[in-house]
Symmetry: C2
Subunit: 431 residues, 2 copies
């Protein structure tokens, strides 16, 4: 439950001039954290500012930041920093904000502590301890459920708890790594059972929720403590093979349709940075049971984040076309809040660990333009691209590009950077 | 695909006399590996022999075992040894077999290298990287599916692939740690949505399958290489809250009904030790698709392991009664083999890591006595115990005790030790 403080002041400016560029994802009010390296150098923490990365190791070694959080932030993953809890990361944010603010003496050390963003190779921000994926958008469920049962399209528990499944941690990859078209098994329309490269590869536009701190196994996390268990947010592409999914899913849920790969953005926008974008949660009907309810959650539990998905096909690339936006949606409309997800997840005593990753679920909204996966879009026919190409599902060479931006009255907008990946062709089945 | 060798010779005897005790789980033909410690000492690898543990660190330090595998086996988890692949663990087995064989000079060092089993505290054998749980017993599925659809009780894909779901790694615990009754949400018979401690806690008797080696993301594991990806086997209790499960499961599968806790036995019976117990796999109808089929799998893909589950209630404990066996089943009848599980799991390119854990799925057989969870047993009414008590579901204070033994003509039987845990009462919901 971060409050607004001096680090959010809209008048605050950085001595890094590009942080003030109109439309920059990374003004000084943002300060997202990630892990980067350069050839021959160890991976360590960095903070995005304008078109540069503040090298947290260099800043720490120069004595510009100090303390346990600064020490943890120079490691090759953020797991230990995440484990220290929100007060530690909030303290680091205040130090970095002061360091990068206009007038700070650190400006004279720019060459030593800043790395051009184009020179930094971004890594997975944390070793993913566990990955759980939610299904929290009413519109996503309602659209896809209509095929199953037009009169009861929602899963039976949808209005009573944030439905979720355990997903695969080992196959989470950072933005930029290609996604190989997976082999799999499904039932063809003629009833035959097929095995081969999926013919229905899809994206799902979600937020990544990174967990802070740890609760012991057997110890739930009540709503009063749930917000402090969220370290920050990124973008997440929950790649899905729909033919495989339909066949394997009953009754144990998605398995190989999801574990082919999951892409996350490298920058984690901290819970502190998002404080100005907290808005009222959608009204739930019926009201959430008491253990999933709080006054704070109703008033401030949602986040105003505009999210987009764009596609860039090989032909568009050859023709020099810009990526074409096929999803434009708003995270604040998710039926369940991220605090409710945390409390539900731990309600059986499940221990949530630093480095745990939650997927918000496909963030679809009610408008056709807010359909956040091809499974939904395709219900009214394939997408037509500016090149005249059409897409029912993703083709080899297609690149999917997610972006997001938190926007609110009286606050400087902040961005999430990108989560992007190209679909690579299936490999030959090995002997 | 371990072959029989000198380490399996039924005539082989150990200088550790208790290894020859009739009915011992741990004769010299077994040599299961685990992690143990004693107060004030670091955790390290150990191998069970009779009623003792061979301290692998002490043996290595005394120069009795050597090499990369021996070095890895003294670490506080088996992950690195698992990562070295089967040839490494097979080499370690041969060294340890020679060291413990009657006539070996190491006998004079018994006091230095053996720890009484009762003095060793067993730990989780590996840091669980990922945990996936299968559903591979025809009888388990058919019995429980009848309620859903009497004419089509099996999941649609059951005969075509080994159905599975991603489960939770963080909540896996070693035998002996209590299992706290979880809170959860479900729909009562009157239709009301309830939240509170589960009223339908169940066990599921499964084998644990521990993964060796690693395949890169995007790289499947064909059937020819699947057997070598199995480091070894243990017992696994996939604790399940049935009321929570029924409510949360559609359509994404089990979530909080499973992540409350999963118990595994501390000793891993290696794939090498189980070579004499390989038997023909059940005939599959229809035949498995080519990528899930091999001549070796049909001839040798199953394992002859008798598995039991027993219960010990507080009243039985007070009266000095022995645990009462409520499940007695045979693993060789599972519809899918463990090699098929590995190949299926990686068929989409999913990377399986050292320390990954697969649950075999509830190992039920066709006889009433072979029903391997209370959900099945209860279909014909509650269990009646020798004290006159009955159980539809587990009560607080009940202990569930799994045991297993591999048995085959011409081979010395080998045991798995125990996987046991007591049900602890629910805690008060926190504020």
């Amino acid at each position: 439950m971060a409050a607004r403080d001096a680090t959010h002041d809209p008048a605050l400016r950085s001595w890094v001039a590009s942080a003030q560029a109109p439309g920059s994802d990374f003004p000084i009010q943002n300060l997202p954290i990630g892990i980067f390296d350069r050839p021959g150098e160890p991976a360590r923490g960095g903070i995005a500012i304008g078109d540069a990365v503040l090298d947290l190791r260099a800043a720490r070694d120069a004595g510009l930041i100090a303390g346990d959080a600064a020490d943890a932030a120079v490691e090759p993953t953020l797991n230990r920093l995440m484990g220290m809890g929100r007060p530690a990361s909030a303290a680091l944010r205040r130090q970095v904000s002061a360091l990068l603010a206009e007038g700070a003496s650190a400006a004279s050390l720019a060459e030593r502590i800043l790395v051009p963003m184009r020179a930094a190779r971004m890594r997975l921000p944390a070793q993913v301890a566990n990955f759980s994926d939610f299904m929290a958008s009413y519109d996503h469920c309602a659209r896809l459920g209509v095929r199953r049962d037009p009169r009861n399209p929602l899963p039976q528990a949808f209005r009573h708890l944030p439905v979720a499944y355990h997903s695969r941690a080992s196959s989470v990859r950072v933005s930029g790594e290609p996604v190989t078209r997976p082999h799999g098994q499904w039932q063809a329309q003629d009833g035959a059972i097929r095995f081969g490269p999926t013919e229905a590869l899809d994206y799902e536009l979600e937020l990544a929720i990174w967990i802070a701190g740890e609760n012991a196994l057997g110890t739930p996390v009540p709503m009063s403590r749930a917000p402090d268990r969220i370290f920050g947010y990124g973008l997440l592409n929950d790649w899905s093979a729909r033919d495989i999914q339909r066949w394997e899913m009953p009754p144990l849920g998605p398995f190989l349709a999801k574990s082919l790969s999951t892409s996350v953005s490298p920058w984690i926008v901290t819970a502190e940075a998002l404080a100005p974008f907290a808005v009222a949660a959608p009204v739930q009907d019926p009201p959430a049971l008491p253990h999933l309810d709080s006054a704070w959650n109703r008033a401030k539990g949602a986040l105003a984040i505009r999210m987009t998905a764009a596609i860039l096909t090989p032909r568009m690339r050859a023709e020099g076309a810009a990526p074409f936006t096929i999803t434009d949606t708003q995270f604040a409309r998710m039926y369940w809040t991220t605090a409710q997800m945390v409390t539900h997840h731990a309600s059986n005593g499940c221990n949530l660990l630093p480095g745990d990753l939650l997927g918000s679920g496909t963030a679809s909204g009610p408008e056709d333009s807010a359909r956040a996966c091809l499974a939904e879009i395709g219900l009214t026919g394939p997408v037509t691209l500016p090149t005249g190409e059409t897409r029912r599902w993703l083709q080899d060479g297609d690149e999917v590009i997610f972006r997001a931006r938190a926007e609110a009255e009286g606050a400087v907008p902040i961005g999430f950077g990108e989560c992007r990946a190209v679909v690579a062709p299936a490999i030959a089945w090995p002997d």
